[in-house]
């Protein structure tokens, strides 16, 4: 679930926050949540309800909904959210339609 991230921070001294990902603490850069999870090496963000295929951020501008995560019980676009201290984030619960 957590791998070495392909992404590198240009300013590693940037401010950090601690969020929960899948019930575990994760220290990430403050700011955009999708970017924070990417740089932390989180992949995938979710599995599709149709075929359970792994997905992650695609458009980063709120159009594609591929970065959906569950925050406080509601599915939301990670790319439209700012990471906040103590935020509980998880993969959306999927009820497979098949």
């Amino acid at each position: 679930m957590k791998t070495v991230s392909p992404f590198r921070e240009l300013d590693p001294a940037a401010q950090r926050v601690t969020i929960r990902w899948q019930g575990r603490d994760l220290v990430v850069p403050a700011g955009n949540l999708a970017a924070a999870l990417l740089v932390a090496g989180i992949m995938p963000f979710r599995h599709t309800p149709v075929s359970a295929a792994p997905r992650g951020p695609f458009c980063m501008m709120g159009a594609c909904f591929d970065c959906l995560v569950e925050i406080d019980g509601v599915n939301r676009q990670a790319c439209m959210i700012e990471a906040a201290e103590g935020m509980a984030v998880a993969m959306p619960r999927v009820e497979n339609r098949e």
Binding site: D11, A35, P44, P54, C64, M80
Partner: protein
Amino acid sequence: MTAADLVIIGAGPAGMAAARTAADAGLSVLLLDEQPRPGGQIYRDVERVAPVRGALLGEDYTAGLPLARGLDGDRITRVPGATVWSIENGTRVAWTAEGRVRQAAGRRLLLATGALERPMPLPGWTLHGVMTAGAGQILLKQSGIVSGNAVLVGAGPLLYLVAAQMARAGSPPRALVETQTPRDLSAAFRHGSGALRGWRLMLKGIGLLAELRRAGVPRHRAARSIAIEGTGRAEAVCFQSGGRRHRVTCDTVYLHHGVVPNTQASRAIGVEHRWNAGQHAFEPVTDADGRTSLRTVFAAGDGAGIGGAKAAELAGRVAALAIARDLGAIDDTALAAATRPLRHALARERAPRAFIDAAYPPFAEALLPADDTIICRCEEVTAGAIRGFARLGCLGPNQAKAFGRVGMGPCQGRSCGLTVSAILARENGRTPEETGYFRIRPPLKPVTLGELAALTAADENEIDRRR
């Protein structure tokens, strides 16, 4: 419910410029934007980021600073983080911000909703690690993160710009896989005058290519049969170029073959749209002021037809002045005087567009993808399935929903709409206009039942107060 002379949706170049111009003319402006800070996608978060990464991102980005700073002032009410999900009766808007639903009624509405990346369905484009080039640039701009092992695929000035910005950030892409062919370029030069008037853009392009050469980025030209391989995530880009098959390993792929107007809001209101054959996209029909087929609704910027950030800014100002005249804030003489230089500048800015559109056409394999390729990312519907619907008599995109849920997932067709229309048009031997586009219905973005219930309660309180 809030009231304003002008409600603007979108705080990119068109929306920001329109807000300032309308406020200067004496109108009260409500500016709704989905992002926490103004700038749109091109100037994303420019006030915060320009001092930190302005040099790396270049002056095309920092040019947004004066626009964002121009939003300060009495007559402009800004609502950041506002997700607009309903527009009724032309100018009545509902949105969610910070988990609460709000509504506003404007005397005029300006849609400044910008562009979306043109969908680029290729085999493997749904794998984790595949993103749009715009997404890669947003990650670099807003969050200061860059992939160290990326391949860029497609065509267009943005592809070169993102590659050059990555090189400046110390992580040049592994390769550029370019779909442009020598024939595209020679065809573009038939738009001779446009090419000449676009010489500044050409020089900029040459400068970017020189940067990429110095950074040692390999360029693969006229690439064909492009596929992204990987198990669960992107691992390599495979393609045909220069007479042989290539496989470039990577963990990030950025796709781009142009941008298209984001018409979700204009479609939902029901204004007329037309097919722009040169740009291979639908756009709302507008007059020279940006007025749509609904008298109270205007559209400006890339959302009304792709023209770039400078053109968007100018079109935003033109629309704001026309609205100010509509509402009696300025007279015809003032309107003519203020608008004339803007129209000249707009014509100059748009002159090279036909050349650019012809020089960097969309990638044919992604306009009409192979049968196995997923085109609807949400519902995982393939191009072959759409062709199957056509064989069963399906003529249009709305009918296609009933055949196989295409376009019915959370993105509401943003990622597949143009591809569905293109495939059905081709299979049925009809034009894009005849084929049409998805009917877009509210909510434009998901809204929770709790948020809706709170809205009803607030409305009832208001009714009680009036009694």
